[in-house]
């Protein structure tokens, strides 16, 4: 288990993390959501021991991060957003290098190649790989030390849909291996697809942590969505939303709105509880469109 207790981190006057507490279950795939500057990358850097916290404590699988940074680094791995390998080396040379500096076991080395489908690319110069292949190499390097925890910092940026699905499928498979995955992405659909639990950060603070199921379930939503077909007349109603509108779960308001839409010949496609879609929920929670 990863237990983050009341941590804070400032860069000068800017508070990157503000009294943040989180608990991440062992073996889960945990999504970190937040707009740019919410504190996601700072949190990942802290969990990797790259940055020190100002206050608070972090316990990772029984190790205090302030005292056992090296031990924690041995059981964890970060997959950075940028391709963190050497383009002038071949795939094999990159893997050999990162394996040797971590004293990786042969079986982990081979497993990493296999999971990421790199067997046929070993002698290819890394700079000549496609975007998706480069991403897979970036991930394979992170698996060489057979980590118990993997931190993914937006690993699918710039990847075509097919490769993205392959990467997401491989990440899901880590769960079966008992690996704890902490995943940040701007793509809410990815989080929805692979994560068990999600935390939403805003201005360095935790504003919500729950299982994905709960977040998207009726229980947590206090909104009803009315999806409409023709939006031409919505302006007459002084509504900003073009294809659907949120209203509070208030019976009178619901009936009044339906009646208003009928009078103005606006066809209703669907009426449902709000936030069945994570992006909608996120925007609702943060009040921000810059996800």
């Amino acid at each position: 288990m990863i237990k983050i207790s009341n941590i804070s981190k400032s860069y000068g006057d800017i508070k990157a993390l503000d009294n943040l507490s989180l608990t991440i279950k062992e073996g889960s795939i945990f999504g970190l959501l937040g707009v740019n500057g919410a504190g996601k990358t700072t949190l990942l850097s802290i969990l990797n021991g790259l940055i020190k916290i100002d206050t608070g404590s972090i316990d990772i699988f029984g190790f205090d991060i302030q005292k056992h940074k090296k031990e924690i680094n041995k059981i964890s791995s970060i997959i950075p957003q940028h391709l963190a390998f050497y383009e002038n080396l071949t795939v094999k040379e990159n893997l050999d290098f990162f394996a040797k500096i971590q004293n990786a076991r042969k079986e982990d080395y081979e497993k990493s190649i296999e999971i990421n489908s790199l067997t046929n690319l070993l002698n290819q110069k890394s700079s000549t790989l496609s975007g998706g292949q480069k991403r897979r190499l970036n991930i394979a390097i992170g698996l060489l030390n057979n980590p118990k925890i993997i931190y993914f910092d937006e690993p699918t940026v710039g990847v075509d849909p097919k490769s993205r699905n392959e990467i997401l499928d491989s990440i899901k498979s880590y769960k079966k291996l008992g690996i704890t995955v902490i995943y940040t992405s701007h793509y809410m659909t990815e989080i929805e697809k692979i994560c068990d639990e999600v935390a939403i950060l805003e201005n360095g603070r935790l504003i919500k942590q729950d299982s994905l199921e709960n977040l998207l379930s009726n229980k947590v939503s206090n909104k009803i969505v009315i999806e409409i077909i023709n939006s031409k007349n919505t302006k007459l109603l002084n509504l900003d939303i073009e294809d659907d509108l949120f209203i509070n779960t208030n019976q009178k308001e619901l009936f009044d709105t339906i009646s208003l839409l009928n009078k103005n010949n606006i066809l209703i496609k669907q009426i449902r509880y709000g936030a069945t879609n994570l992006e909608k929920y996120f925007l609702d929670m943060t009040g921000n469109n810059d996800a």
Partner: protein, 379 residues
């Protein structure tokens, strides 16, 4: 195991950077060739050549002797056409009788004043010799028993004077100046490829990855230094070989190693430490590869200009020579010049070597501190 893997990786990266290799090995070699050949006449005191056209209007025995002497001197190329001659020498009528009739020299516009002075000095040798012969023969008629052994009359400028500098140093020829100067400069070329590798590691997050894999700052710095140290040592010997074997093909004096090989190795090691130290310092301080390349290039040129690489220190004014002492390139260059010109052994150049080693170590330590601070701040 970790360190050997790091060093191997750095070697692979360096070997595959063709442009950097070209800049590190070919450019200094070309510099040595160009500068040795271009500055050959500026540095030379023995291998002068002047093309001249002679016009004797006096037609006396003495003037004939002058012309014969000049024709026998290999420093003069006698031409039949005025047009191509650097110097047109006209001996006026009745010159032998009356020395107040001056010899007239017409000079091509491209000839510099110092070349004219050298020409005059050498030509004077032959006039003096011819005059002495004339006087001796004239006196011989009156004093038949007091004949002068003319063959032993030595009036060569080179044999009349022995020029030595106050500090007993000998003047270098163009190769002796160019080879050490461009060896030193070439060794500092590593600033650009080395800083690019550091900046790219920062930019591409490989540095973050290595840090998260418990790779120490020392291992990162050391592993990057090893290939460039070896490159520096290879550079030194390639440049020396260029000076010894290639430069003579261009009618330029070959490099002579008068000092000990051990002394060359010692100065090379010191210089390499300094070059690596400065490169690492620039690399870890720069925010982008553009910044590193610009700062690296400028500092290389400045250190070279101050340190006597571009302009030899012995022709600098004294105040500039004192400033030159501040440049580590000057410490290395002085060491090499001592070895090549004065036959210095390791005992003589150990001071320069130690200064370079200490400077290199200090800059490396500062670089490691800066890198650690940057990593602590999340780069």
């Amino acid at each position: 195991m970790m360190l050997s893997a790091m060093i191997k990786k750095e070697f692979l990266l360096v070997i595959r950077d063709k442009h950097a290799l070209l800049a590190l090995f070919v450019m200094p070699a070309i510099f040595i060739l160009i500068m040795s050949v271009a500055m050959r006449d500026q540095f030379s005191t023995n291998n002068l050549e002047f093309s001249i056209y002679l016009q004797d209007e006096d037609k006396t025995q003495m003037c004939e002797n002058i012309i014969i002497n000049v024709q026998n001197d290999k420093r003069f190329i006698i031409l039949n056409k005025k047009k191509d001659a650097q110097f047109i020498v006209k001996i006026p009528k009745e010159y032998a009788k009356n020395s107040s009739n001056l010899i007239q020299i017409n000079v091509q516009d491209s000839i510099k004043s110092d070349q004219i002075e050298v020409f005059k000095a050498i030509f004077s040798e032959h006039i003096i010799k011819a005059r002495l012969t004339y006087i001796s023969e004239s006196l011989g008629n009156y004093l038949p028993n007091a004949s002068t052994p003319l063959d032993s009359l030595e009036v060569s400028v080179d044999k009349l004077y022995k020029v030595k500098y106050n500090d007993s140093k000998i003047l270098p020829n163009s190769t002796q100046q160019s080879v050490p100067a461009w060896i030193v400069f070439g060794m500092f070329f590593i600033i650009i490829p080395m800083s690019t590798i550091y900046v790219n590691e920062k930019k591409q997050n490989t540095l973050t990855r290595l840090t998260s894999m418990n790779v120490s700052i020392f291992a990162m710095t050391f592993s990057k230094s090893v290939p460039y140290f070896i490159i520096n040592q290879i550079q030194v010997w390639i440049m020396i070989c260029v000076g010894i074997f290639l430069v003579p093909y261009f009618n330029t004096p070959a490099l002579e190693i008068n000092g000990s090989i051990l002394a060359i190795i010692s100065v090379s090691i010191g210089l390499s430490f300094t070059a690596i130290g400065i490169s690492t310092l620039i690399a870890v301080s720069a925010k982008s590869s553009e910044q590193a390349t610009t700062i690296g290039g400028i500092s290389n040129i400045l250190l070279g200009a101050i340190g006597g690489v571009m302009v030899p220190k012995f022709i600098m004014p004294e105040s500039m020579q004192q400033i030159a002492e501040l440049s580590p390139m000057s410490w290395g260059l002085d060491g090499f010049l001592d070895i090549f010109l004065n036959g210095a052994d390791i005992g003589i150049v150990i001071g320069n070597t130690l200064m370079l080693l200490v400077f290199g170590l200090i800059t490396l330590i500062i670089s490691m501190i800066i890198l650690q601070l940057k990593i602590n701040k999340g780069l």
